[in-house]
Amino acid sequence: MTATTPDTLSTSAGPDGDSPLHAPVDLKIPRSLKERLIERLFGAFAMVSILTAAGIVIVLFGESILFFQQVSFGQFFGDTQWTPLFAEPHFGIWPLLSGTLLTTLIAISVALPLGLFAAIYLSEFASPRVRKIAKPALELLAGIPTVVYGYFALSFVTPAIQSFIPGISGANALAAGLVMGLMITPIIASLSEDAIYAVPRSLREGASALGGTKVRTIFRVVLPAAASGITASVILGLSRAIGETMIVAIAAGMEPNLTLDPREPVQTMTAFIVQVSLGDTPAGSLGFQTIFAVGLMLFLTTLVFNVISFRLRSRLNRGGHA
């Protein structure tokens, strides 16, 4: 690759040791056009992200507007049945919301204790060597493809549950929720550990000096101080669970069901989108547009959660405690 024009030095080197006094010094080459083009090109690459974000917003809102021109808000938020593809369609979003909510709650009720106690152990008890191994090991949980988790849920967890709770249907929210919980444990563990680790030593020492046991110090002083970070981790975990698709699509069932009973099959917002995609709903039809309306709800919900989580974490970075 040649930068400007390939050339040799404009000064000729004379006999060893002597450079000519006033050799022509050629400085008048204009600023490289190539340089400017490259900068513009890379800038354009960076704009792809902005385009993506704009695209998401435009597409989701655009199709949703078309949807809501045919389905009123009253129907959407008032009806308790979700059967958009039936001959007599109902467009109440609540069953999907409850499906998402149920599986998410089950997931967090698994991940929170596991993640939090793991975090406590890692930051308060574990040696640096253990921490170096355990942290990446926990991250493994987050790296398993979700379709594999779905398989786990259906093939192992569901039968196990069925032996405890006879008569439970093959597809249920509990199995999916439990496995999702496993998947999001690293999020809780990792972020909580950061938050706990960031609590200043002076606080712990102060508590000890007052006669506090380690356990009490942790629960009365350290955890409250790390509260915003821990909350941030939970919110992020919730966000991840809300957006999760394959585990619920495989194990939780595809029946929209307005319930909070974990033993029943439910359909989440994400699973619904997959269901429609697997089918033959013609593009441009109302049925097709429903997935964008649902997608919009999904996007807004996770966005809000992510922003809250981020805010909480930056408070942590700036000050240390809640």
């Binding site: 890379f42 800038g43 992200s49 597409v59 949980l141 790296g143 493809p145 786990f152 997608g295 996007f299």
Partner: protein, 299 residues
């Protein structure tokens, strides 16, 4: 805690009664250890059981056969080919975009409100559920651009999905290159691009590659976005062009898992073994690359 000596006054006796805290501490430590070991052990059991179930179906034929109605002869040939092609295409799209964007943010652009805005967008995009990307791709790639249910559309979707990850990893890698080296290069008369190309990027390469490999390892397991944009779940051919229909390994797994027959679950297990092995290899490669090229910087 030392046991307090008895002195006989009222509040001393309270000290005698209170537990020393050792039991509580030990219990907490134990619970903490369990909290780590339990999920990992569970994962190991799950993977192990899957392995045992699916191992019988693993064979060379399995890797190349077409899927079929009979579980015993179903193979992952097209799925594997599809996944392979997807990875190559996704990398081909996301790598230049990602590195270019990272270079622009780190090396060219002067920090301003606009660049902070771009950074904000990128980190927000990192948290968007993958199925939302699919909806975007559905509208833009499949319909508006007319790519249809093609492997190109699939790769484009995955590329958008992993782009934030690649950008962030590349920026980190660029930051590890000391400023003095850039200065030395400018001092010798190099312009910015040649400095980046000759001096900075070669040194940032391990970090960038690691980021790319990890991003691809994540993309390889993505199922939902591909289904949504129309990857077929039953494909009996290897994709032969950019515009051809396709399937991928996770989709094939999903298809088999969804069947009621237990035989297909075994096939699914075998496919899962293949998928996990590939991912393990990719992660291992990333780690090895990182350590090998790291020593290059230390000289």
């Amino acid at each position: 805690m030392t046991t307090p000596t008895s002195r006989g006054s009222g509040h001393r006796s309270t000290l005698l009664i209170l537990p020393s805290g050792q039991v509580g501490e030990k219990s907490l430590k134990l619970i903490g250890m369990l909290a780590i070991i339990l999920p990992l052990a569970l994962l190991a059991v799950l993977i192990g059981t899957t392995f045992i179930q699916g191992a019988e179906r693993l064979s060379g034929d399995f890797l190349t056969d077409l899927p079929s109605r009979r579980a015993a002869s179903a193979g992952i040939g097209p799925a594997l080919a599809g996944t392979g092609m997807l990875m190559v295409l996704t990398a081909a799209i996301a790598l230049p975009l990602g590195i270019g964007a990272a270079l622009w943010l780190e090396e060219y652009a002067r920090p301003s409100r606009f660049t902070r805005f771009v950074e904000l967008i990128i980190s927000t995009l990192a948290g968007v559920p993958s199925i939302v990307y699919a909806l975007l791709a559905l509208e833009v790639f499949v319909r508006t651009f007319g790519m249809g249910r093609s492997i190109l559309a699939g790769a484009a979707t995955l590329a958008l999905l992993v782009l934030p990850m690649i950008i962030m990893a590349s920026r980190e890698a660029l930051r590890t290159v000391p400023l003095g080296l850039r200065e030395a290069s400018y001092g010798l008369g190099g312009d910015r691009w040649i400095t980046l190309r000759t001096i900075v990027l070669p040194l940032a390469l391990p970090g960038v590659l690691t980021g790319v490999i990890l991003a691809l390892a994540r993309a390889i397991g993505e199922t939902a976005p591909l289904i949504t944009i129309g990857a077929l779940t039953y494909v009996a051919f290897v994709p032969d062009s950019l515009s051809s229909a396709f399937t991928a390994l996770p989709i094939q797994i999903f298809n088999w898992v969804s069947r009621p027959s237990a035989d297909f679950h075994v096939t699914a297990a075998a496919a899962i073994i293949v998928l996990l092995t590939v991912m393990l290899a990719m992660n291992g490669l990333a780690i090895w690359l990182r350590s090998r090229l790291q020593t290059r910087i230390e000289g």
